[in-house]
């Protein structure tokens, strides 16, 4: 088995090439940081060759978690060959990494991607000359148009076993003389890697030093060489080496790249409007409004209404019922199918169209390049409450699904910021929470148009408040990490990519409906239709639901939620099943309230719901389910990303507590107008005052910390 790693700068098209070569359909987007973990696949041409798609890196000195993953893989695993994907439209900066990859001693093949764009600009790259200068094969390709990939494959098959690479150094003689001296001390590695280790030793690279066993005398010798070199160049080693690389690259680019274009390109002109200091925020607000308005209210809402009210009420259930009657099916089985599975799954699947429209728009935003600009625009605002603009991308992805949202936090360099982003990302309503919002809005607020936007507003407010409160605790104190991010050029969204990404996310939702939600609905149906009556387990009649196992369980939990206004067992059960998957909340109501007669129209469930909730308790129920611990899948993602039990427990505990208190305050405040000022109201006021205090108190540790930092400096 041979291993080929795809490495390159962020957003240079590694995943596009990976997909084309392995036939997989990994997720692609036009912003840096789409791939945050390594992906494995087998090359289509020979299953004995393994291809690894790595997160993008600018250099082999990593700053964020995804970059660490890429570097560790390249340096510590046995990689037989590196395909260095280079964005040909940005040759100079991309070749910086190439010079480092060449030094690792692993055979490199350069895939010059996006050659079609270079040609469109009217520029020319002298590929043969580039290959001669770099001493490695250079293959022009276009991942998007599937051009040149066969030649690339031929080249790496030919090159994969060949270790006898011609050694060459990109450095000037002044620098080389030091490198050769350090190499003299490096007896622990083979010739091909000597220059790499020499540079790392001079740079005092900590990660490399950990792996090397060296005697003190040798170390001291290197230390003195380092000082000598610093004195000669009057700079630190990293800068000397970086400068030397760029000097070599500028020279190389001047020889091989013929440029025709000049001045501002279209992408810059778009940026001067979209990121303009006056227009940036209004444009962003308008874009977001259109996305949610269209996907929740107009197109999405229309199709969803039809699926809920017509398809899953008038068409499918009567048809299935007739069919079951014609089979002379047992009453319990037809109840399981009609009241359990169809009522539950139907309640969930009804929202699929809405979701697809939302995913379509999100994919559009990502593919055209606007996503990266949003991070830049939001940075100024997020900084005010202790997060950086990079935290916004996980949240935007989180509107689709919390799991990739939480994972997207890997591009954040600062550990504290990353933890805080992981904790707060799921406050944004994900697509699985949309059905809950729609159900509550429809059942209790007459479909009022303010309910859905208010859910997003609550999510954002929860993030903002959590940011401010948490930043003032000792755990998260300190300024958010500074923001630096490459902005990709805008391009027309590729319909294929957009549809693929929409399908990718949407189909996982449908898959979930077919597996975990199907299973849940069956369990919920059994638990709600069976119970203990007169000491025996029996199937219950329509009127006896309150004797069911589920009711017993729910009634046990209900007092906990009574202060929030929804102390009935159905709501308690729904909130609990929501922890498995948020879609279950709606599915549970579908089963519990859809009992008996097949509803004549979808409003049947709504009426039953309207009876057991008041406007205040329903809103409190909504808020609790929006903010509390996410589904199992997302909790698993939190655990993976925190990589620490204490932090996982803290994150989930914080979310639940925050949700509970927020719902409590909202419900009790609303109740003052009904019951007057009671003990509970006083408690709610106390909680609210505490919240305001935490929000506005002066961070205690800040001064101390500054003093510490000064002391250090």
């Amino acid at each position: 088995m041979k291993t080929i790693a795809l490495a390159g700068n962020p957003n240079c098209g590694k995943t596009t090439i990976f997909n084309a070569m392995t036939g997989s359909s990994q997720y692609i987007g036009n912003w840096p940081g789409v791939t945050v973990e390594k992906k494995e696949g087998r090359w289509k041409g020979d299953s004995d060759i393994k291809l690894i798609d790595l997160p993008g890196i600018y250099s082999l000195s990593p700053y964020s978690l995804d970059e660490v993953i890429a570097r560790n893989f390249l340096l510590n695993e046995n990689v037989d060959l590196i395909v260095n994907v280079v964005d040909a439209t940005n040759l100079e900066r991309n070749l910086y990494l190439t010079t480092q990859l060449l030094e690792t001693g692993i055979p490199v093949v350069v895939a010059l991607n996006m050659m079609d764009l270079v040609k469109n600009h009217g520029d020319r790259i002298h590929i043969e000359e580039l290959a001669v200068q770099l001493h490695c094969p250079v293959i022009p390709v276009s991942g998007l148009k599937n051009e040149g990939l066969d030649t690339l494959a031929d080249t790496f098959v030919k090159d994969i076993g060949r270790g006898d690479r011609l050694h060459f150094s990109i450095y000037s003689e002044n620098i080389q003389k030091y490198l050769r001296r350090v190499e003299g001390v490096c007896s622990f590695c083979d010739a091909a890697k000597k220059e790499w280790y020499a540079i790392k030793l001079l740079e005092k690279d900590e990660k490399t030093m950990e792996h090397i066993a060296m005697i003190n005398a040798d170390m001291q010798q290197i230390d003195s060489m380092r000082e000598e070199m610093k004195a000669e160049f009057d700079d630190d080693i990293q800068s000397i080496i970086a400068d030397a690389r760029y000097v070599y690259i500028s020279d190389l680019v001047a020889k091989t790249y013929t440029k025709t274009r000049n001045g501002m390109c279209l992408s810059d002109r778009i940026d001067s409007i979209v990121t303009n200091r006056v227009l940036a925020l209004p444009i962003f607000a308008a874009v977001m409004y259109i996305v949610y308005y269209v996907s929740v209210t107009t197109i999405g809402g229309f199709v969803t209404d039809w699926t809920n009210d017509v398809l899953f009420t008038e068409i499918i259930p009567p048809f299935v019922e007739e069919f079951l009657i014609s089979l002379d099916c047992a009453a319990w089985l037809s109840s399981l199918i009609l009241d359990g599975i169809i009522a539950g799954i139907g309640a969930v699947l009804g929202f699929v169209p809405q979701m697809f429209v939302l995913f379509f728009f999100l994919a559009l935003l990502e593919d055209c390049g606007y996503m990266a600009r949003i991070a830049f625009i939001m940075d100024r605002i997020f900084r005010k409450f202790g997060l950086s603009g990079k935290s916004f991308i996980p949240m935007l992805i989180g509107t689709g699904c919390g799991v990739p949202g939480i994972m997207a936090s890997r591009t954040i360099e600062n550990e504290k910021d990353r933890r805080m982003t992981i904790m707060t990302t799921t406050f944004i309503p994900c697509s699985a929470k949309l059905p809950i919002i729609a159900l509550i809005a429809g059942a209790l607020f007459d479909g009022a148009s303010w309910v859905a936007p208010s859910a997003y507003f609550i999510g954002i407010a929860a993030i903002v408040c959590s940011g401010i409160i948490l930043k003032k605790t000792r755990l998260f104190a300190g300024d958010p990490s500074p923001f630096i991010m490459e902005l990709p050029a805008y391009h027309m969204p590729q319909l294929k990519n957009v549809l693929l990404s929409m399908w990718e996310r949407g189909s996982s939702f449908i898959k979930k409906a077919g597996t975990i939600i199907l299973l849940s609905t069956i369990v919920i149906w059994f638990a709600s239709r069976f119970g203990i009556d007169d000491g025996a387990i029996v199937m219950l009649e329509e009127e006896e639901l309150s004797k069911s196992f589920l009711a017993v369980l729910g009634s046990g939990m209900a007092p906990l939620f009574a202060p929030l206004g929804w102390g009935n067992w159905q709501a308690a059960v729904a909130a609990i099943t929501g922890l498995v998957a948020k879609e279950n909340v709606v599915a549970t109501f579908g089963i519990l309230f859809g009992f008996g007669e097949v509803a004549e129209d979808g409003v049947e469930i709504w009426n039953a719901m309207a009876l057991s909730f008041t406007a205040a308790s329903a809103f409190s129920f909504l808020v609790f389910n929006l903010l509390c611990a996410p589904c199992f899948a997302a909790m698993g993602a939190i655990r993976r990303e925190m990589n620490h039990t204490k932090w996982t427990v803290f994150a989930i505990g914080y979310q639940c507590l925050f949700a509970y208190l927020a719902s409590f305050v909202i419900y009790q405040f609303a109740m003052i107008s009904v019951y007057g000022f009671t003990m509970m109201s006083a408690l709610a006021v106390a909680v609210f005052v505490l919240f305001v205090y935490l929000l506005f108190r002066k961070p205690k540790s800040k001064e101390k910390q500054q003093q510490k930092e000064y002391a250090k400096a």
């Binding site: 940005n90 100079e92 900066r93 630190d236 990293q238 940026d271 830049f376 630096i484």
Partner: protein
């Protein structure tokens, strides 16, 4: 002058990068080295989008304040 206060649209040249080693190496990985040319595409309260080595890079104030530039073209020697 600092990159945060430099005029937009003009050809600028970096003459000094201030900061600790890790700051400088992060910047040089992204293409910011002493002697290289930058152009400010857009500025927003100290946060800037610049064009450097054919790439568009967004930087916040903290980063931009570490980059000293002067006006005038000039190739990297």
């Amino acid at each position: 002058m600092l990159l945060t206060t430099a005029p937009a649209g003009k050809e600028l040249r970096i003459y000094k990068i201030i900061g600790k080693d890790d700051v400088r190496s992060r910047l040089s990985d992204m293409g910011f080295t002493e002697g290289s040319c930058v152009q400010i595409i857009n500025e927003w309260k100290g946060n800037v989008i610049v064009c450097i080595r054919d790439a568009r890079i967004a930087l916040d104030k903290t980063w931009a304040n570490r980059i000293m530039v002067c006006e005038g073209k000039g190739e990297i020697e």
